[in-house]
């Protein structure tokens, strides 16, 4: 397990040296633009504009990192054969995989946290009086991070058995479908054949529900988040990540390197 930590720190170092954190500049630009736009619209919805734009930007930038770097975590090491020397050392394949996952999750955590703080400061700037509900925006950022960790796990799983390009397509596909899981559950079951009903039902529970992590509306209206939702989302992400990573480990542990 200690070795997984060593791998994780190196993965983080790679992200830093490959200038992944430069996206923070991009985010700063987005926030500045948002503030200017918000300033020109009528007073009162300034915060709403900033929160909506800010959270969307954090989510989108995070998703790009999670998918593209997540898919490359293992496949790049296999393609460039950097993995060979490492796996011949006393490190188990699951330790390597967990390390890779942990490293990117850590990178994303710092990244998203920095953007979250930026967003919060922008908010404090436009809003003279401060209430407790304004903290919701930080919880929204935390939920985005949970969602991103789940996306990384999925990207890792797919990259363990397909080409990087397909893995990117699959991960993106699952993410998009995962935004509509609720709609799938609400489908008019009575008009479908029994087999179809069962299939839809199973599918809706099997797919990750990404919409649960979206509390943009709550944040925009400074509503407080119930503690139960925080616990539920944390648990859901933890269990789902564990399952997906277990799958990835099973596949990767049997895999022949080129």
């Amino acid at each position: 397990m200690k070795r997984a930590g060593v791998v994780a720190l190196n993965t983080f170092r790679e992200a830093v040296r490959d200038r992944v954190l430069y996206n923070l500049l991009l985010f700063a630009l987005v926030m500045m633009a948002a503030s200017i736009i918000a300033g020109q619209i009528s007073i009162g919805i300034e915060e709403t504009v900033i929160i909506t734009l800010g959270l969307s930007a954090i989510s989108l930038i995070g998703l790009l990192i999670a998918i593209f770097i997540g898919v490359g975590l293992v496949s790049k090491e296999m393609d460039k054969r950097t993995l060979y020397a490492l796996l011949a050392k006393p490190v188990r394949r699951w330790e390597f995989l967990l390390g890779k996952f942990g490293g990117l999750a850590l990178t994303l955590a710092l990244n998203v946290a920095a953007m979250g703080v930026g967003l919060f400061l922008a908010l404090v700037y436009v809003k003279p009086v401060f209430e407790r509900g304004d903290l919701t925006v930080l919880i929204a950022v935390y939920f985005i991070w949970l969602k991103l960790a789940l996306v990384v796990a999925l990207a890792l799983l797919f990259s363990c058995f397909t080409t990087p390009l397909l893995a990117i397509l699959f991960t993106t596909g699952i993410y998009i479908v995962g935004l509509y899981v609720q709609e799938l559950r609400n489908m008019p079951m009575q008009v479908m054949s029994p087999g179809m009903t069962l299939f839809t039902k199973w599918l809706s529970y099997l797919l990750p529900n990404f919409e649960n992590f979206n509390i943009m509306a709550m944040a925009a209206h400074s509503r407080q988040v119930p503690g139960a939702l925080i616990a539920q989302n944390t648990l859901y992400a933890a269990i789902y990540c564990t399952m997906v990573l277990t799958g990835a480990i099973l596949v990767f542990s049997r895999r022949n390197l080129k």
């Binding site: 070795r3 190196n10 790679e14 054969r81 950097t82 020397a85 490492l86 011949a88 006393p90």
Partner: protein
């Protein structure tokens, strides 16, 4: 008696290929061999013979279709065996965003060395492979031969009992080759076991206590380099100069380069040929034993391999 450093039993690897992966291509066929503790073992064979396949199987980078192997007395599935083993991959490549010193430090952490040990080992190992001045340069700026040296460094970093090197000399300049040979010999002096693959017969001859020859995925023989070369001795070569014109019948068989002539004769006809040349007024410069070149050596085995494959095909019909 202690267990062999490496022991394989019927180790086999098939790769699926063709339409829907239905066909199988055998890369390694029932390899059974042993590398004794404390020896330098050379693994030689032409391109595609199965050298890297064997080594990757031993390192658990790929998994065998059948058979088993033990390293230092432990089955290769036991992760503990990796503590005492160093491995240099073929055409090594490493994280290019790290410097050589950082990379070695990272691997030393994986090996659980303490901070003090890491510092010391990284420095001495860099020095040993001739990279002490390049330790602070990012690996993306390294040349091929420098990367090969880094590969050697990470293989011996943790002072392993057994070192397995896949083509350690490839990409190295003459100085580098010499240094690599010295490292290998040093390892043996320290009582370590070394197994390395190569298709450069002279390297194997110079270094190895024993060699194994593999062609077409099958082990074709194991023995000392002397045994291997004796089998392929092709007689004697005489190098001579001529003062004036000469009409000796032997001359027709000689090849001329500049003023000099080379003549190959069977070992039994050596003295006879020398006398004839002297009678013809030739000045004899050197007499040497002819060894099959690597090319001939392999071509013979490969030809035999093909002939056998053809025979199997015919008898199969």
């Amino acid at each position: 008696m202690s267990a062999p450093a490496i022991e394989t039993e019927n180790l086999s690897k098939e790769y699926p290929h063709g339409f829907l992966n239905l066909k199988k291509r055998t890369s390694l066929e029932r390899l059974s061999m042993q590398v004794e503790e404390g020896e330098i073992f050379g693994f030689i064979g032409p391109n595609g013979a199965g050298k890297s396949t064997t080594i990757k199987l031993l390192m658990r980078l790929i998994f065998p279709t059948a058979g088993s192997a033990r390293i230092l007395g432990k089955p290769i599935s036991d992760i503990e065996m990796h503590r005492d083993v160093g491995y240099l991959p073929e055409q090594p490549y490493f994280y290019d965003y790290l410097t050589a010193a950082e990379l070695l430090d990272y691997f030393a952490r994986i090996h659980d060395l303490s901070a003090a040990q890491r510092k010391e080992r990284v420095q001495t190992t860099l020095k040993k492979v001739g990279l002490e001045t390049a330790g602070k340069i990012q690996l993306r700026k390294y040349s091929k031969g420098m990367l090969q040296r880094v590969g050697m460094a990470q293989a011996i970093l943790h002072d392993p009992q057994l070192v397995i090197l896949d083509e350690p000399m490839s990409g190295l300049d003459p100085v580098g080759r010499r240094e690599a040979r010295d490292i290998i010999l040093d390892l043996r002096r320290e009582g370590k076991t070394v197994m390395f693959s190569t298709h450069i017969l002279s390297d194997a001859e110079m270094l190895c206590d024993r060699v194994g020859v593999i062609v077409g995925g099958k082990l074709r023989g194991v023995g000392t380099p002397g045994q291997l070369v004796d089998v392929t001795t092709q007689g004697m070569e005489i190098l001579f100069e001529l003062a004036g014109p000469c009409t000796a019948p032997l001359l027709a068989k000689a090849t001329r380069t500049g003023d000099r002539y080379r003549l190959q004769v069977p070992e039994t006809g050596l003295y006879d040929a020398i006398e004839q040349l002297r009678a013809a007024g030739a000045k004899i410069l050197a007499v040497a034993r002819v060894r099959a070149t690597l090319e001939e050596f392999f071509m013979n085995l490969v030809e035999a391999d093909r002939a056998q494959a053809a025979a199997v095909e015919v008898s199969g019909k």
